[in-house]
Amino acid sequence: MNKFLGNKTAILLFTLPTILLFSVIVMWPTLQVFYRSLYDWNGLTEGTFIGLDNYKRLFEDRLFYTSLKNGIIFAAVIAVLQIGIGTVLALTISNKMVRGRKFLRISYFIPVVLSVTVVCQLWLAMYNGEYGLINKVFEALGISYRQDWLSNGDTAIYAVAVVNAWQNMGYHFALLLAAANSIPEQYLEAAKIDGAEKWKAHWKVTIPLMSETYKFCLVLAITGGLNAFANMQIMTGGGPGTDTYTLTYMMYRSAFRVGEYGYGTTAAAFLIIECLIVTFAINRLVARERIVY
């Protein structure tokens, strides 16, 4: 068996193309990010080596802490919403008895298919304080409260995170559905039960069987959240003020708006390390035991 699974030619053939391509196209530029974080550099000139000064400055920069905090909030919101809703919907749809499951399955995935620009424009219209749909709903329900979440510094980050959570829920739904569908029938006690008992069975049996999928759903949601950029760029421009900055946005501001590319790469380098630690922790905590059907 060892010889069979230790076939050196096969290992090289299967592994090398990916490692090579990835190293050249992704890792080489990434290494330059780390290298350049030690420089005072505008992106075009030679730059001056300044050791760890950029990191010192980073840890004294108020914007860094705002960005860090927002990244964590963003990651938490999307992880909870996407995986939570994704789980409920995927387990429901995996049951072949559900009426209209084909239509439902397609529908849940639609927001993912649309481009982020479309989705952000839609939600800008929903959140709009004057003409927005959300306030109209409040009005129709006879509630006197009027939201202005996107322009309020305290709520804006949540408002933006919800948009991302809503759009990308479909990814988690699809991954979890594929996982649920891969579980052999004999394990699926939950399918045979109804009501509250059903979810108990899912919680005890089905979900643990899918822990391998939960692992990458978590990594996807959390690192995606820490990395968030496009939603802010389109919806708030990091604003109001700096209230929806994330580390990626801070990097963008430093590198392109301020022209301090070196300092921008410092924020990015911190972000990459942060994500690595999170992924490492998730790998340690979730699905440590290999589950085999």
């Binding site: 004057e130 510094g153 003020g241 708006r257 022209g259």
Partner: protein
């Protein structure tokens, strides 16, 4: 199972072909690039140009200039790349790869970066050669020379200013006095709010109008406004600058702005003003055309309100806004330096010509001799009378040269309009950003 096998082997085969295909693609692509650079297909020289071309307004300018170019310099063919709204990211990437277009439209921030990295051609010699300086309006020479007394771009925009527009009819109908002081401004806010009218509309999602709005108030205390901060001649913690922030906080608290102002884009904010739902509006003087179209002679502009009557009178003619070096620049690596410079200067001149003759605006950098085709709107007539009396201008956000300060004031000014921000935070964030 066999099917999968087939699919996968097909996949592998496809990816190999694709690799081969893309390799072929690369060859043909290079050939094209070479012919472009060599550039003498049918005796025409092709030049790449990077310019604004994404709305009616900018298309009008570009198309006009290109049509004129075809008449004057038929040996030149321009290959347009549309300027992206990306904080100069694309141009910087081009510069980093040595792939800058021959001619590109640029502002002061990129001039400063490219000057340092030797990506931009110094145009002094061509300014002399083409007599461009003689074509400049004396009042706009500040848009030609940068601080180091050199020329890096042929300007066209001139010294534009920020105007505080208002809807005369709304003020009259509701018996509101056009404010000259902050007190009167507060009175106006109360009066309009009572009638369900938005006092002031601003497209605060973009950050430069927010900076301009702050500058309006800062210039009441120091006519040099944000320019003084930019050049280090004043500190954010100076009393006037802090008070200006406090003035805005107070006005916003009183209900100056529509809900969600910091998420309004131009189209949304302008709609409020154009449809008579907002009494005041902040924008550059180029807004005169659109506002006159929507509101006719109901639109006017007021001098900025000040803390008290005395400072109102004293600083009445101290405007926010102003020109800065910028316009059409030439890549340092172009193969056709002189030709590119000639085309760049020609484009700049034609942009100014289009603005004066067809857009009804006298605010340009260069003299225009051609007859005006679209008469000035009445409001523009009034501004034209005010222009010679302007005592000082400052800068638009895009004309600031200290990029750290620029980014910091952009963010902080927007936060001022959000209603959940204090003058102290404003000062602290500015100082933090300028470190």
């Amino acid at each position: 199972m066999k099917k999968i096998n087939k699919v996968l082997s097909l996949g592998l085969a496809l990816s190999l072909t694709a690799a081969a295909l893309s390799a072929c693609g690369s060859n043909s692509g290079n050939k094209e690039a070479e012919s472009t650079a060599g550039g003498s297909a049918e005796g025409k020289t092709k030049l790449r140009i990077y310019a604004q071309y994404s709305d009616e307004d900018t298309k009008g300018y570009y198309d006009y200039a290109v049509a004129e170019l075809a008449k004057e310099m038929p040996n030149v063919e321009l290959e347009l790349e549309i300027q992206a709204q990306d904080d100069g990211q694309k141009l910087k990437t081009y510069a980093a790869t040595g792939n800058l277009p021959d001619i590109f439209n640029t502002g002061l921030d990129l001039i400063n970066v490219f000057r340092e990295s030797n990506n931009i051609l110094q145009l002094d010699e061509y300014v002399d050669k083409f007599g461009f300086k003689d074509k400049m309006l004396p009042s706009a020479l500040n848009t030609l020379y940068t601080e180091d007394e050199h020329v890096y771009a042929f300007p066209y925009a001139g010294n534009e200013v920020i105007l505080l527009y208002y809807n005369k009819e709304l003020f009259e109908q509701n018996g509101v006095k056009v404010p000259t002081t902050l007190e009167e401004m507060h009175a106006a806010i109360d009066a309009f709010k009572a009638k369900g009218i938005t006092p002031l509309s601003i497209f605060a999602k973009e950050k430069w109008p927010d900076v301009a709005f702050y500058d309006i108030f800062a210039t009441r205390y120091n006519p040099a406004g944000i320019s003084a901060l930019d050049k280090g001649q004043a500190k954010p913690s100076d009393p006037g600058y802090k008070q200006a922030a406090q003035d805005i906080v107070d006005l916003v608290k009183a209900g100056l702005l529509p809900k969600g102002a910091t998420n309004l884009n131009y189209d949304q904010a302008a709609a409020l003003f154009h449809e008579g739902k907002a009494a005041m509006f902040v924008n550059g003087q180029w807004e005169i055309e659109a506002s006159t179209k929507a509101l006719g002679d109901k639109v006017g502009y007021m001098y900025y309100p000040a803390p008290d009557a005395a400072s109102y009178e004293a600083n009445k003619m101290a405007f926010s806004g102003g020109g800065n070096p910028g316009g059409y620049a030439v890549s340092a690596n172009t193969k056709h330096k002189e030709l590119a410079a000639e085309v760049a200067s020609f484009m700049a001149l034609k942009y100014a010509e289009f603005k004066v003759t067809k857009k009804g605006s006298p605010i340009v950098s260069t003299k225009v001799e051609k007859a005006v085709e679209k008469a000035y709107d009445p409001l523009m007539e009034r501004l034209a009378q005010d222009l010679p009396n302007i005592t000082s201008t400052t800068a638009f956000a895009w004309g600031l040269s200290n990029t750290k300060f620029k980014a910091a004031i952009e963010d902080a000014s927007q936060a001022l309009l959000s209603g959940s921000y204090t003058a102290d935070q404003f000062i602290a964030d500015l100082e933090n950003g300028m470190k």
